[in-house]
């Protein structure tokens, strides 16, 4: 089955806060939208792997997901804790241990295990360097033969 990839364009508007670096804002925004997506897929009863850059990044995702509004609660775990086969949503910076249909990619490249997934969620940040990396990922996905599309990420107040 062909893997479907959806790139969400992160809103430039939120980068107005001058005190925080743009890349930092992008990271936060991507994490936030990753959590929203995880919540969405969990409610469709789909198991999700959220792939992050490093340990600290994984813990940031974990922290935000745990603090999410209780109506959008997402049972999740970090790789290295929780049940053996993982919770409905698993977060890690390591290659996945179990097969899941959905990958949410928060890293700068397309991981080499990407073709295991039926559905991949990725993000296009507003910072130029990061945006360029996203373009590369977009291209890479095409080369993998995935069906790739993009749409704006919708800002939701939680």
């Amino acid at each position: 089955m062909q893997t479907q990839v959806m790139f969400y364009l992160l809103n430039d508007e939120i980068s107005k806060d001058k005190n925080t670096a743009e890349t930092e804002q992008d990271t936060r925004s991507a994490i936030y939208h990753a959590c929203l997506q995880a919540s969405h897929f969990y409610r469709q009863n789909q198991r999700v792997y959220i792939y992050t850059q490093d340990k600290q990044h994984a813990e940031q995702v974990d922290e935000m997901l745990w603090a999410f509004d209780s109506d959008s609660f997402v049972p999740h775990n970090l790789v290295g804790e929780g049940p053996k086969s993982g919770a409905m949503v698993e977060i890690g910076y390591q290659p996945p241990q179990s097969r899941r249909p959905v990958l949410i990619n928060l890293t700068s490249t397309v991981p080499n295990f990407a073709n295991q997934y039926q559905f991949i969620v990725d993000f296009v940040p507003s910072d130029e360097t990061l945006k360029q990396q996203a373009r590369e990922r977009f291209k890479a996905c095409r080369q993998w033969g995935f069906s790739v599309d993009n749409q704006p990420a919708i800002e939701v107040e939680t």
Binding site: E63, W66, A67, L78, G80, G82, A87
Partner: protein, 664 residues
């Protein structure tokens, strides 16, 4: 504020022609009302007034009401004021207020009620009624003085204090005896039990403190009782009583989350080897003091005593609970249990020959008859709809037969009472629903009201589930728990509880912490519970390690307690025989035991815990739950939606920062 029924109550009330009492209630809580005048700094709060109006409504219409009032809503006044205002000298009314513990009873009676009486200029008669074991028994005190053997120094001292106090006391409430320790072994000898009370045959009946207290209660407008007393009365478990409910027009239950289990207990039966041994002791006393000629009395009683001990020895050394049905199937248990019957029967036959020789032996005869009947209950282990379980203490075994559901019985009592029933607590709802509570007690038709706490939990508190916790059965779990506790204890400068589901892990953690931190460590089992708590409050920087059940009913205010670390979600032990029976029953009815029984029970327990950490608008604190099922299981949502909205984090370092900011 969330209201479950549609439409606000004020609207409802307007429709039903605003009555005098409702107007009075609104006025009492208003800016210029009685409360504002009597209490400095009182400001009207919508949630409190809403609850008071609903209570007034339930009293007036003799209907039922379930209210969850979050900590800090002021629910005590919200039910007491309408209760007092509903009193009318022309139409005598009786109101029963029942609460969880003796301490809470006393707080109501000595603190809250006097304040309200003053505010409302009420001259209502209020009575405090406790259980039988709280009242001095003059007859038993006299008996004890006559027949006691050698006493150790402490017992002798206590006896002298009791005697001195007994001469002067009006109420006979042993709570007045502040200089005798609560757990003094003297008390069983100077108070009565249902078994050994001679009731109307008692030579001291005229001066009986219990009878007087009951008389007072029966004459009062408002009676303050506790749940155990209430349900003992309701299930007619204390004879010559059963007088509270028929006479009352209003029943108010505070701490109502407890009454489901208490009701089950009282609608059930129990048979304890302690009752048998007590009977033997009393028979021996009669034999030695008056019926010295009947040698068989002594022999029969000693034989039964010995068999009781043997029966206890069949069970494990450590106190435990278990399934009596299963034990009853095993030959060795069956054999000893049958021996109990043989020996009890023999004792009964011997006592029978002594009937009418004096009151004491007649009382023993009645008890033997009752015990034989209860014995039969415990042999019919095949009865349906019942759980048969046992509970052991170091010296005794108690067998229980508990009905799996009390909803029919309780519902009948409520319906037939023609009274208004009000159930309130800070912890009744699970996932914003009262189903769990109302189904258990058959209260599906009751009006429901949910009032949020006025506290700002987001800034006052944190709920932390640490990352990378070891599995529940990991052998390094104790070490890991101690490691993550250390920075928190340092940050909070003590003022910390650690609660465990197992004694083993508790002791392991205690051992590790003893060498790694300087704070005084208080560990359950070192001394009596009350002593431990006193020391915890005195010490300022102490850490208390205890099992989870320790927490029930504990009240530590302010910065004395800022950090609570719990090793596991408070699910009841799956080995609990009553729980097993209820789950089995739910399964048979096509239900789901986990979501219907185990989960709601754990949610309520955890809610209680949070309520103890944050008791005031100024309280701050961190709750650390070392159980990642809260994060990775779908039912975590049920917990989160039921708990106050605390700031959630998984970061121990952040929690430590927060704690540090409190002690600066």
């Amino acid at each position: 504020m969330t209201e479950i029924t549609t439409g606000t109550l004020s609207a409802n009330i307007a429709n039903q022609s605003a009555t005098k009492s409702v107007n009075e209630v609104s006025h009492a809580f208003s800016e210029s009302g009685a409360l504002a005048k009597a209490i400095q700094g009182f400001s009207p709060r919508q949630a409190q007034t809403d609850m008071a109006l609903d209570v007034a409504h339930a009293i007036e219409n003799e209907s039922s009401l379930i209210v969850e009032a979050g900590t800090g809503t002021g629910k005590t006044f919200a039910y007491l004021i309408p209760a007092f205002l509903s009193l009318n000298p022309k139409v005598p009314k009786k109101i029963v207020v029942s609460t969880g513990t003796k301490n809470l009873q006393e707080q109501l009676f000595h603190k809250d009620i006097p304040l309200i009486k003053k505010a409302l200029a009420s001259n209502a008669q209020v009575a405090l009624l406790k259980g039988r074991a709280n009242y001095l028994c003059n007859y038993r005190l006299a008996q004890y003085q006559d027949s006691r053997g050698q006493l150790d120094a402490q017992m002798l001292q206590d006896l002298v204090k009791v005697k001195t106090w007994a001469n002067g006391t009006q109420s006979g409430d042993i709570g007045e005896l502040v200089n005798v320790s609560e757990d003094s072994p003297i008390f069983p000898f100077v108070t009565s039990t249902l078994d050994n009370c001679l009731a109307r045959d008692c030579p001291n009946y005229e001066s009986c403190h219990l009878v007087r207290a009951r008389q007072k209660a029966s004459d009062a407008d408002i009676i303050v009782v506790n749940h155990h007393l209430f349900f003992a009365d309701m299930a007619l478990k204390d004879t010559g009583f059963g007088e509270l409910i028929p006479k009352a027009q209003v029943m108010i239950f505070d701490e109502a989350h407890q009454i489901g289990d208490i009701a089950s207990e009282y609608f059930g039966e129990a048979f304890s080897s302690k009752q048998l041994v007590d009977l033997c002791t009393d028979v021996l006393q009669v034999h030695r003091s008056s019926l010295t000629d009947v040698k068989q009395l002594g022999l029969a009683a000693e034989k039964l005593q010995k068999t009781c001990q043997e029966f206890r020895l069949l069970f494990n050394y450590d106190p435990e609970r278990g399934n009596w049905r299963e034990k009853h199937k095993q030959p060795q248990f069956q054999q000893k249990f049958a021996n109990l019957k043989t020996d009890l029967d023999f004792l009964y036959q011997v006592i029978k020959l002594c009937i009418s020789r004096n009151e004491a032996i007649d009382n023993c005869f009645d008890r033997a008859v009752n015990l034989l009947a209860q014995y039969e209950v415990m042999t019919n282990v095949e009865s349906f709809g019942m759980s048969f379980w046992y509970e052991t203490t170091p010296r005794s075994v108690t067998l229980h037969q508990t009905p799996l559901t009390v909803s029919d019985k309780f519902n009948t009592v409520v319906k037939e009472s023609g009274a208004g029933w009000i159930f309130t607590s800070a912890t009744l709802a699970v996932d914003n629903s009262f189903d769990h509570f109302s189904k258990h007690l058959g209260l599906q038709g009751a009006r429901q009201l949910m009032l949020d706490s006025p506290f700002d939990y987001q800034t006052q508190s944190q709920l932390v589930v640490p990352r990378y916790l070891p599995q529940a059965n990991d052998k390094n779990r104790a070490l890991k728990l101690a490691e993550l506790a250390e920075p928190l204890i340092k940050a909070s400068k003590g003022a910390c509880f650690m609660l465990f589901t197992s004694y083993r892990v508790m002791n392991q953690v205690a051992e590790i912490l003893a060498s790694s931190i300087d704070n005084p460590l208080l560990v359950q089992g070192q001394m009596a519970k009350r002593k431990l708590l006193e020391q915890f409050i005195e010490a300022d920087n102490a850490v208390l390690l205890a099992t989870a059940s320790f927490w029930e009913g504990i009240d530590v205010r302010g910065d004395k307690l800022t950090c609570v670390i719990i090793d596991k979600l408070p699910f009841a032990s799956p080995d609990d025989p009553l729980l097993q029976a209820r789950c089995e029953d739910a399964r048979r009815q096509g239900g789901e035991p986990f979501s219907q029984i185990q989960l709601p029970q754990a949610v309520i327990a955890l809610k209680q815990g949070v309520g103890r950490l944050i008791r005031d608008v100024k309280d701050r604190g961190v709750m650390v739950i070392c159980d990642d099922r809260l994060v990775n299981k779908p039912y975590g949502q049920t917990f989160l939606k039921s708990l106050p909205d605390m700031k959630r984090s998984r970061d121990i370092a952040k929690a430590a920062e927060f704690l540090e900011s409190l002690t600066e």
